[in-house]
Amino acid sequence: MKNSKIISIYTALISIVYIMYGFIEVINGVAQWYIRPDFNLQISLIINNYQIPYAVADPFAGFVLIIIGCMMLYSSKGLLNEEIDGFSFAVVSSIFSAVLFILYLLIMFANFTEAHILLNDDYKDWVFYNDLNPAIVLFPLLTPLIYYINAKKGYYMKKEVN
């Protein structure tokens, strides 16, 4: 019970960060497209003069982060009471975060190829830090939740029968 309380609070906190960055990306996207092209709202750390994580201006990407955040937030309540719904939402939000994390890693690799292998002029200013967006930075923070899911799977899940 104590563990479920801790993981529930932790998941709720992470979910709020996901939702916050989701909204920042939506706001940046809408503002840059329609209001001011130089609008750039960021909540980040400055490392080597780069903002990390860097919230991109993309309403769709923001929407996806909000969806993940909402699923996690919903799961936190269920995890507290050890309900199957909470576990289900925690599983799917973790899978989805992993999918997004892998997607952005692949995009980072594609950008690296353009910049350093194909020597594409459009990518001459590209540096690794540019692609460290919230989906990449936040995913490792889900490790405790993923560990908890793995530890609890025997409690909530039975084997699939064909």
Binding site: D58, P59, V64, C70, F87, F96, A110, E114, L118
Partner: protein, 498 residues
């Protein structure tokens, strides 16, 4: 007469009472049946019960009242049979809550995932999010492969121009074949990446869930649950998708599904979106492409609703689907699926697209002795039809020509543009930036999405509907709708400064 009954909500209870009091007039019915049950079944529209009371003297009066009440209630609550089933489950769970002591719920992995993927609130936003992931993967991750192929074709065209001395032959090979076919082939990675991602979704068992979550929405728009699969297949190619409509049970549902299927964006249109989206919308190209797919789905639903009201009437057939377990996709099978679908695109490039670009090259060099392509047959044709397209922001005669030849196969739109401007890949991107504004570019992509389906699709529509009338109708409505939507896009785009 004593009546034991549950409440189905005030309005429905009143309707049941009304029918009940009418049924009381027939003594035979009173003797034979529980009238409360009979009233509910008639309101549900149970055909078997209707058959049983058909010989009653009051049948005509009762059925008139029942139909009227049913129509009124369905406006508010949807299908009455579904409404009654839901209410019964509510009643059952309200009872079981007190009498059953639950053990801890233990589910399979598939059940756990389905709790979220089939959730009525989050199911559709999750589907849209997954599609966004698919298009980001298709556009952004495939980009270096596209650029590498583009570099190869640019090099090849330059090499041919330098080595072949005969100017006309060099023009045929470099401008006609290499630029024409090459500008289509550079998008092979995008096509393969799209099919790879879609295969993962299919092999994992998720696509069957999409059919399930879309069913409720589609029924509201007059499309039956069985129409979901053909529409989803349309993302690959409209030809097999239309053939799959044979599984749709009623003729009306089938024709309706065929009519709206060309609005589902097939993979042949993807190169157009990738080229124009990449050139005009840069880092937002993935979002723009996703928006076009969503536009296609939205238009298909709206038109299905309109066509159902105008031509068919009635109700769509229900969806009964056994959901498979979720599986981790086998990489070998996924690659095999990707290859099977993707190679069709490559084969097309070697046959119909090749033939198409050679013919375009020929007509852009005829009649003999012309000084520029503008004086050729193609140029004359383009300039003649240009005024029709100018309100859409298409101010270059080459654009309507490329759309016209796209009737044969949508990929030729890109092939012909590559040939007309003598460029592929990055160079072609730069040309697109000069001839389009963001609004007219989006209008062009929307037009390509909606207008006449390709020749093969038209042939299969004729075969499957067995009617020239429906085939012609599909062509005409597609053209009119494409023009209207493109006009709307440039008008709104103009107002917001696009």
């Amino acid at each position: 007469m004593r009546r034991y009954r549950f409440s189905y909500g005030k309005e429905v209870d009143d309707a049941i009472d009304k029918i009940f009091s009418l049924l009381l007039k027939d003594k035979d019915l009173v003797k034979k049946y529980n009238l409360n049950w009979l009233a509910i079944k008639l309101l549900e529209g149970d055909e078997e019960v209707k058959e049983r009371v058909k010989n009653s003297l009051i049948y005509q009066d009762v059925i008139k009242v029942v139909e009227k009440l049913r129509e009124k209630l369905e406006e508010k609550y949807g299908d009455m049979d579904v409404y009654f089933a839901d209410k019964r489950y509510d009643i059952i769970s309200s009872i079981t809550r007190y009498i059953i002591k639950k053990r801890k719920e233990v589910l399979t992995f598939s059940d756990i995932l389905d709790k979220v993927f089939l959730n009525k609130y989050i199911g559709i936003p999750l589907f849209i999010s997954l599609m966004w992931v698919v298009f980001q993967f298709t556009f952004s991750v495939a980009a270096p492969f596209v650029d590498a192929i583009d570099t190869f074709f640019t090099f090849l065209a330059d090499y041919v121009n330098l080595t072949i001395k005969n100017k006309l032959l060099a023009s045929l090979v470099a401008d006609g074949i290499i630029n024409g076919v090459g500008s289509v082939l550079v998008f092979v990675p995008n096509i393969f990446f799209l099919f790879f991602a879609m295969s993962i979704l299919e092999d994992s068992g998720y696509m069957a869930r999409v059919a399930f979550i879309m069913d409720k929405i589609m029924r509201k728009f007059g499309l039956g649950g069985r129409s979901v699969i053909p529409l989803l297949l349309g993302f690959g190619c409209n030809v097999p998708a239309i053939m799959t409509t044979r599984t749709v049970p009623t003729k009306e549902d089938r024709i309706l599904t065929i009519l709206v299927n060309p609005l589902i964006s097939c993979s042949a249109r993807l190169p157009v979106y990738v080229l124009i989206g990449g050139a005009l919308f840069a880092s937002n190209a993935g979002n723009v492409i996703l928006s076009l797919y969503l536009l296609g789905i939205t238009l298909a639903l709206i038109l299905a609703y309109v066509f159902r009201k105008i031509f068919f009437g009635g109700k769509p057939s229900p969806l009964i689907l056994e959901l498979p377990h979720y599986l981790v996709p086998n990489i070998r099978t996924t690659i095999l699926h990707m290859w099977e679908r993707g190679r069709m695109f490559v084969r097309k490039a070697g046959t119909i697209i090749f033939l198409g670009v050679v013919l375009i090259w020929l007509f852009s060099h005829l009649p003999p002795g012309i000084n520029s392509v503008e004086d050729s047959f193609v140029g004359i044709f383009g300039k003649t039809i240009l005024p029709i397209f100018q309100p859409l922001g298409f101010n270059d005669w080459r654009i309507p020509v490329s759309l016209s030849v796209g009737f044969v196969a949508k990929e030729i739109v890109i092939g012909s543009l590559g040939q007309f401007y003598g460029a592929t890949g990055e160079e072609l991107n730069q040309v697109m930036q000069q001839i389009f504004t963001p609004a007219s570019a989006y209008a062009f992509m929307a037009f390509t999405l909606i207008y006449i389906p390709c020749l093969a699709t038209i042939a299969v529509i004729k075969n499957e509907t067995g009617s020239y009338k429906w085939t012609l109708f599909t062509i005409v409505y597609g053209l009119v709708l494409a023009y209207f939507v493109a006009l709307l896009v440039v008008t709104i785009g103009g107002l917001i400064g696009g």
